[in-house]
């Protein structure tokens, strides 16, 4: 069992760079290189990664494709710990998923683009801030108010879209870690009442409550008192949803703007069927899935929450620090061959593509980020074919992660992307990445996998496969990589095979 005082090995350092950023960049400042991090304690490294001031970047343009490309380009260029900033922004973009095309369909397009850009900036500004504060900001975020129909939620015929997802996705989860439901349909209806009448003005975008459209208990007595979590648990019996002593009123401060904050405060006090804080477990579980691997144990989640003092503080920095110093952060990096219990995680398209480009030092061309080889296609097309488009998560559920990325369509897009990268003649330069005076095929294979930080991820059999490829099954026992054709045929080919392999597709 490691902790914050455990010293980082080289493999640990690689793992942090890769998981907290995008690939292992060819060029990086000294502190954030493998050599700079190796030998630090996990705690010191965590503090280093988490010590940044969020930037004010927002992906804004007069075309959505350009805005998305601007974001890709911004990620490509992030150095040091600001790569972590972008990883966190994508986490929250998925957690509070909002997509451009839905807003665009409501029109006008320029307003939709502006709202998406502003929401993105909000995630960046708050990515290492306070989670409860962020939820309250999301409650009245312009893009979200449009996306989940808060602007259509009025007293006579309430719209439950936001009231449901606030609970199911943003705070509690539909069920707790025991598979028990966290709320009832009544709670969905009641939370939706709190949001009735919230809207924003077209001219200046200011959010406010339109009192005339707000549901009040006096006007709608049949809907009962404004309370949540008043229903007895139908399965476990004996206790109420949320572990509260009784129904929780969200109009203690009156029936007006205060209601949505009061609802949020109640949600953050919700306890699951183990008596643990539901929001803390839900968010931590998702963060660990994102940065480490799927299905962490309850004990791991609870230990991270406790060490961070997250319940009550809701501060992201100590929570992230607890994850970074925990053993689970390093579990996917164990060397091959892998056992049945080894943990692995599928690299998602943006991580895989941008990480690959950074790890071989290839710069896509122009504003459209063209990969300058093969079919000369743009980065965004590849990422989309792999199943991910930033600013366009498929629904409020965000993207489907892990093995969902592994389909033939998604894999073939990865294979083609890599082919185009290594076929970028004159742009992709492996002669600058490894020593081309090497002639022994085993040494060459090791040099390439070392440069990419993947040596430990190949089995001995796979290493032999790569050597056989270089020698054409022993026909050419040594290689002259300083020969242009040999280098382009075999060294580029070797890079392609390594980057297309499961070792590179997975973490």
């Amino acid at each position: 069992m490691g902790d914050q005082n455990t010293l980082l090995t080289e493999d640990d350092a690689r793992q942090l760079i890769r998981r907290l950023g995008f690939g292992i960049p060819v060029k990086e400042s000294k502190k954030f290189r493998v050599s700079g991090l190796t030998g630090l304690t996990r705690g010191a490294a965590a503090d280093l990664f988490l010590n940044f001031r969020p930037k004010g970047f927002k992906p804004k343009s007069n075309e959505i494709e350009k805005a998305i490309n601007k974001w890709y380009k911004y990620i490509l260029k992030r150095k040091k710990n600001l790569a972590l900033q972008e990883k966190l922004v994508i986490f929250f973009h998925d957690h509070f998923a909002t997509n451009f095309s839905t807003l665009d369909a409501q029109g006008p397009a320029d307003v939709a683009r502006r709202k998406m850009a502003e929401q993105n900036k909000m995630f960046r500004k708050n990515c290492i801030g306070n989670f409860k504060t962020l939820v309250k900001l999301v409650n009245v975020n312009l893009a979200m108010m449009d996306f989940l129909d808060t602007v259509l939620n009025t007293k006579d015929e309430p719209n439950e879209n936001y009231g449901r997802e606030l609970q199911e996705l943003f705070t509690l989860g539909a069920t707790d870690l025991n598979g028990e439901p966290n709320y009832t349909e009544d709670d969905v209806g009641q939370v939706s009442r709190a949001f009735t009448g919230w809207n924003h003005e077209a001219k200046d975008g200011s959010q406010h409550l339109r009192a005339a459209e707000h549901d009040t208990t006096a006007e709608f007595p049949a809907r009962g008192p404004k309370v949540i979590f008043g229903t007895a648990h139908p399965v476990g019996g004996g206790h109420n949803y949320g572990g509260f002593a009784g129904p929780q009123s969200f109009i203690v401060g009156g029936e007006a703007e205060n209601e949505i904050d009061e609802v949020t405060e109640i949600l953050f006090q919700h306890l699951d069927t183990d008596g643990e804080n539901t929001v803390a477990r839900h968010l931590t579980f998702k963060l660990v899935e994102y940065f480490c691997h799927a299905s962490p144990s309850k004990a791991t989640v609870d230990a991270i929450v406790a060490e961070a003092g997250f319940v009550g503080s809701w501060e992201m920095v100590p929570l992230l620090r607890s994850i970074i110093v925990h053993d689970i952060m390093y579990e996917t990096a164990v060397p091959a061959p892998f056992g049945a219990l080894t943990k692995k995680s599928v690299r998602w398209p943006v991580d895989y593509t941008i990480g690959t480009l950074r790890s071989v030092g290839l710069k896509p061309k122009g504003g459209e980020l063209q990969i300058p080889g093969g079919n000369f296609r743009n980065l965004g097309e590849f990422v989309a074919e792999m199943g991910q488009v930033l600013l366009e998560p498929p629904s409020v559920f965000g993207w489907n992660w892990e093995e969902s990325w592994i389909s033939s369509a998604g894999l073939l897009a990865r294979f083609e992307f890599v082919r185009d990268v290594v076929a970028s003649r004159g742009k992709f330069k492996p002669e600058k990445l490894i020593n081309t005076d090497l002639t022994d095929p085993g040494d060459i294979v090791d040099a390439v996998t070392d440069q990419l930080g993947l040596t430990s991820q190949f089995t001995a059999t796979q290493r032999t496969t790569l050597i056989d490829y270089l020698t054409d099954e022993g026909t050419n026992p040594t290689l002259d990589l300083n020969d242009f054709d040999t280098r382009n045929r075999k060294l580029h080919g070797l890079y392609g095979l390594v980057l297309q392999s499961a070792a590179a597709v997975l973490h």
Binding site: D149, L152, E168, S404, S407, A413, D420
Partner: protein, 499 residues
Amino acid sequence: MAITRRQFLKRSGLVTAGGLAGSAGMFGHPLVKTAMAETIGDRYFVILYLEGGNDGLNTVTVADDGLGSLRTQYESWRNAGPSEGGNSSGIRLSPGELAGTLIGDDPNTEAQLALHPGFAGSGPGAGGLKALYDLGKVAVIQGCGYPNADLSHDTSSRIWESADPLGSSGYGNTGWVGRYLADPSTMYGALDIPAININSSIAPEYVQDGTSVVAINRLRNFGFPFDPDYGDDDAAKEMAFLELYAESLASSQPTVEFTGGAGTTTFNASQSYPALHALYEADRPAFDQMYDDLGSSTARDLREVAKIIYGSVTGQPNIDARHFWVDNGGYDTHGDQGGATGKHYDLHNEVASAVKVFYDDIADMDPGLEDKVTILIWSEFSRRIQQNSNGTDHGSQGPMFLIGGKVNGGVYGNHPNIDPLAVDSRPNTVYSQDVLDDFRSTDFRDVYGTVLKHWFNMPHGTILPNVLTLDTGMDPTLFWTVEDFDMTHPVNLGPLFTP
């Protein structure tokens, strides 16, 4: 006990026998599929998913009261639209708007039923699902669902895809079609590709331990990418690629193994499927153009299915896929749903036009080929009977559709009970399996089971429990206690699939 594709690979020694060493050449590699399975039959199945929760109460609408009061109740829940003097926020369909899409009567109340006007289709698909209904090729199955409807998109879609409302079957994350395909009775060989999803990822109902199900967006782009400048190295790259992935497939780490299988299958698919694009373009320009004219994603996706079926029936090598999946998104109409025009109309029009062109395309490929194709349309839930300001929130059971040459067309299943006294507090219609209930619902698994038994000829005893499972020990007035999978037409009493 169903054997999974991966287990089959391992048991048949293809992965672990060390047979990958040595130079096998371009088409001699043991993991390159070469033999056509001749045992898999010639019936095709297409799932079309309406993603987001389709408002089934406007998809199959009551045009009059019949012997009951469904129309009166419908009008009390939903506001009048422009054609009845209301404004665009009213989503109610008027009798006039439904006049062109009338279908059969509700079996229970004898209320005149009508399809949404959008289902009449337009452009090259004019007539749409309504025209196919009139040909007797569409089964409209009302009131499909399961007890205690879960109103989360995520949870409810998983229930439909896994066919396991109680989560008690031990089926894990597998899907019902995936379990069917993995069953030894399907006779698919280990290296066959039984299903293609026209998508960038594999749909959950196709998930099984193996990864032979392939996701393809567009066939024309599915060739394997080799370095164009060094073609003389292709065979060496191919050999190394297949060996790297075979080693991953042999791993005991599940994610690595999964990725290994998917990479191998992807390579195999890339050898046989891309050519079907050019073949179809060359042989079927008129229909190719019709899909183009529709221009919708559903039309383009169904065209990819048509290309594969065409490749299959013309005997192209290694085309073994008989099962397909396409989707049409955007049904989460909380706002701006519209009535006889607007968002919901556009969604239905897209589906109906595309399906009509697809059906005509199939029927034109080969006489009687339409008798070998069935399309199933579903959505994860319906929507609330009471509209909100200008849309509908999440609801409970809704209609399913089966379309095909062998489908015994008509109305199956009862319209949900929308009486104010019968709905729940949301208000949503309530699922019931009580045999004494005139509005008795249809468990969606009865439809799946009927497809499995009568379309795929899967023995009843194999369907249960390999693909579907009974809910035992539950209240029989609520839960599924199916005794057979023989859905029959309520009027002509024939089986749903004509033998």
